[in-house]
Amino acid sequence: MLKLQNVYKTFEDRTVLADINLSVPKGATHALIGSSGSGKTTLLRITLGLIPFDRGYVKINDQPLLSFTPVEWAARIGYVPQEGGLFPHIMGHHNVSLIAKMRGWRKSKIAERVEELRKLVGLEPSVLERFPHEMSGGQKQRVAIMRAAMMDPSVMLLDEPMAALDPLIRHSLQQELKDIFQRLGKTVLIVTHDLGEAVFLAERITLLHEGRIIQSGAYRDLLHHPADPYVTLFINAQRTLPDASAVP
């Protein structure tokens, strides 16, 4: 499980994150949602161990981040950057196996794991022989998930996984992503600004605003028992299309 306790972060004199408490139980999918400037990217980078924080704890399975080296911590979190973040100079399967190679895995072990993950995300073998610029948005996203899952981390962290995809692909990939998470059985934290996506993918949602958590809970709780007017404002801001009866 992933746990953030009392996390604070200031840049110079500005408080960017205050009193962050967040707990994602083992095997659960959680969405961190907020508009741009809410501090969600900072929280993501703290969780990845990329930047230091002022106070509090970040823990995976009750072991705090600060007790690990960066390399050890990275092995516990599988990270899927925005738009997949594949390295452009190497092919799909090299992107997937890069870290395993650095860690000295045997070739056969690497091949086995790549094959296992390929089936799990439902990719054609030929896609892994392509360079990132030869892949579609959905393919890149899947290869990126394979790469994140390669070292069998406890937690998966996804940054705006659908942001760059067109609506139709986005729709079908959301369903597949949900299935993939199910099959992987991992603790997942998705960072997004899209409430619809958060509701669809995650059991619980945390809404971040100006560096503070406004409310954490199921969508139902946010809808019916908003902790703050901002929650309602945020929910209502998601424009829904008028249905057939409203459009003559």
Partner: protein
């Protein structure tokens, strides 16, 4: 105590040891026809009386370079003129007599011989037809048409103390600065032939005066000092090789002005080799010249060596410097500014600075080439590393790659197209710049180019210029292959 004393003595004596250990006698020369001819005469004269091998480093450059080469022991002797020695080297223009000049030079551990016979003084010349048209006989006559004359003067004449400025003052001559151009001496004859200029400076023994039908204007106010040709040698050489020096001294008064003009015209106009002209003068047989194939082969080897070593240096030093520059801001700016500054030093000046430190020959040429090839590699490495998207670097760290792995697995491959382009630029530029190495006796394709330039002999220039161009083309082709091998496939397809 005794041992210590011995060591001190040995160290004190070391320069002498070094001088004795140098086996060959090295003859240098300036980079114009007469210099080559005199250099060859000196070399053959020594060979005729001595078994010590003679190394020819002819066509090394102008007075400054030769003087530095002499001082550093890179050459043993060369031919120069009394006026040049007192003006350009001793900076005492009042010294006129050979004895006075010798006295001043001996403080620098240099020795000059008795005059060889002819004067080679500066002179101003115009076309015969132009002289007729304007009634020009003396330099004073020029003042009548001073506003209309297009002049082309050599760099040395423009810059020396006893050159243009003082002459203009003496004659109250004021040429239109807009119509006054500085040019390489050997090109000024071409310019006056083509009518691009009306007036040039020349040497009084220049064979091309006859060929170009020029009239030398009389120095009616006796401005130009007397330039008597003499041998200039290191004192250490004279002491170590008294017999060889005596043989050179015997040439006192042996070369008349007519003889020198003849020899110059044999070289410039009849295109005889310097070796055969010198041999004919000395009444001996010319040393066998090498075939052109073996000449080109040797020059290619020399050129390749220079370019190859410079390239190796630029890669081994330039890439780490570029990476350092990209990583540390202050040091980076210092590195970039410094390598840009090096690039702005004219190559001849850089060679001049390097001769006192490294002597003459391959070493200073190589050092200059290495320095010049640095900027493209440093700058492109810097740019290549800086333009790697920061997102990739952060992602790599998030995946748990170490700094080293990030650099070698991500940064370097992503920067490789830009880095390789820098190495390519450095190589092509080096192939061109390496032709200047011949000025300091490092050989290569520059040797025929410089010698041809001094003779205004286009075919000779081409025997250096064409292979150099071919080498550049081949290098370009090889880099295309290298691009294919070294740039990651994923990036190649992106371009």
């Amino acid at each position: 105590m005794k041992k210590c004393l011995m060591a001190v003595l040995l160290l004190a004596a070391f320069p002498q040891f070094a001088a004795l250990a140098a086996t060959a006698i090295v003859v240098g020369s300036k980079v114009f026809t007469e210099g080559y001819v005199l250099g060859e005469i000196a070399a053959q004269r020594i060979e005729s009386v001595s078994a010590v091998p003679v190394e020819r480093k002819l066509g090394m450059g102008s007075t400054g370079i030769l003087f530095e080469a002499l001082n550093s022991g890179a050459i043993d002797l060369y031919a120069d003129y009394t006026g040049t020695l007192s003006e350009a080297i001793l900076k005492q223009p009042d010294l006129k007599s050979v004895a006075d000049i010798q006295a001043a030079l001996s403080k620098m551990n240099l020795v000059i011989s008795a005059p060889l016979g002819f004067d080679d003084t500066y002179a101003l010349a115009v076309k015969e037809s132009f002289a007729e048209q304007h009634g020009l006989h003396t330099i004073s006559d020029l003042t009548r048409i001073e506003g209309d004359i297009k002049a082309g003067f050599s760099y040395e004449f423009m810059d020396r103390k006893d050159g243009y400025a003082r002459m203009a003052e003496r004659y109250r001559l004021s040429l239109d600065p807009q119509r006054l151009s500085r040019m390489e001496h050997s090109l000024s004859f071409q310019a006056i032939d083509d009518g691009a200029v009306d007036l040039i400076d020349t040497y009084s023994t220049d064979a091309k005066i006859k060929k170009s039908k020029l009239r030398v204007l009389r120095d009616d106010r006796g401005f130009f000092p007397v330039y008597q040709a003499v041998w200039v040698a290191r004192k250490a050489f004279v002491d170590a090789h008294p017999r060889e020096w005596a043989a050179l001294q015997e040439l006192e008064g042996a070369i008349s002005a007519d003889a020198m003009i003849d020899m110059n015209s044999q070289a410039d106009i009849q295109k005889l080799s310097y070796a055969s002209i010198a041999a004919q003068f000395l009444g001996s047989e010319a040393p066998r010249s090498q075939s052109w194939q073996s000449n080109i082969l040797r020059r290619t080897r020399e050129h390749l060596w220079l370019v190859g070593m410079a390239l190796l240096f630029s890669v081994l030093v330039g890439i780490p410097l570029g990476v350092t520059a990209a990583r540390f801001h202050t040091a980076g700016q210092a590195i970039l500014i410094l390598s840009a500054l090096i690039q702005t030093v004219p190559s001849l000046a850089l060679l001049c600075f390097l001769i006192p430190l490294l002597g003459v020959g391959t070493k200073p040429a190589l050092a200059a080439l290495c320095l010049y090839s640095l900027l493209p590699v440093v700058l492109n490495t810097f740019t290549g590393v800086r333009t790697v998207e920061p997102q990739h670097l952060e992602n790599a760290r998030a995946f748990g790659l170490t700094r080293r792995q990030v650099f070698f697995r991500i940064v370097l491959p992503l920067a490789s197209p830009t880095v390789l382009a820098g190495i390519k630029t450095a190589t092509i530029v080096s192939i061109g710049t390496a032709t200047l190495a011949a000025l300091v006796g490092a050989g290569g394709y520059g040797a025929p180019i410089i010698s041809g330039l001094s003779l205004n002999d286009v075919p000779t220039i081409l025997t250096g210029a064409i292979p150099a161009a071919f080498m550049a083309l081949i290098a370009y082709g090889l880099f295309e292959v290298l691009d294919f091998l070294l740039i990651p496939e994923g990036l190649r397809k992106l371009r």
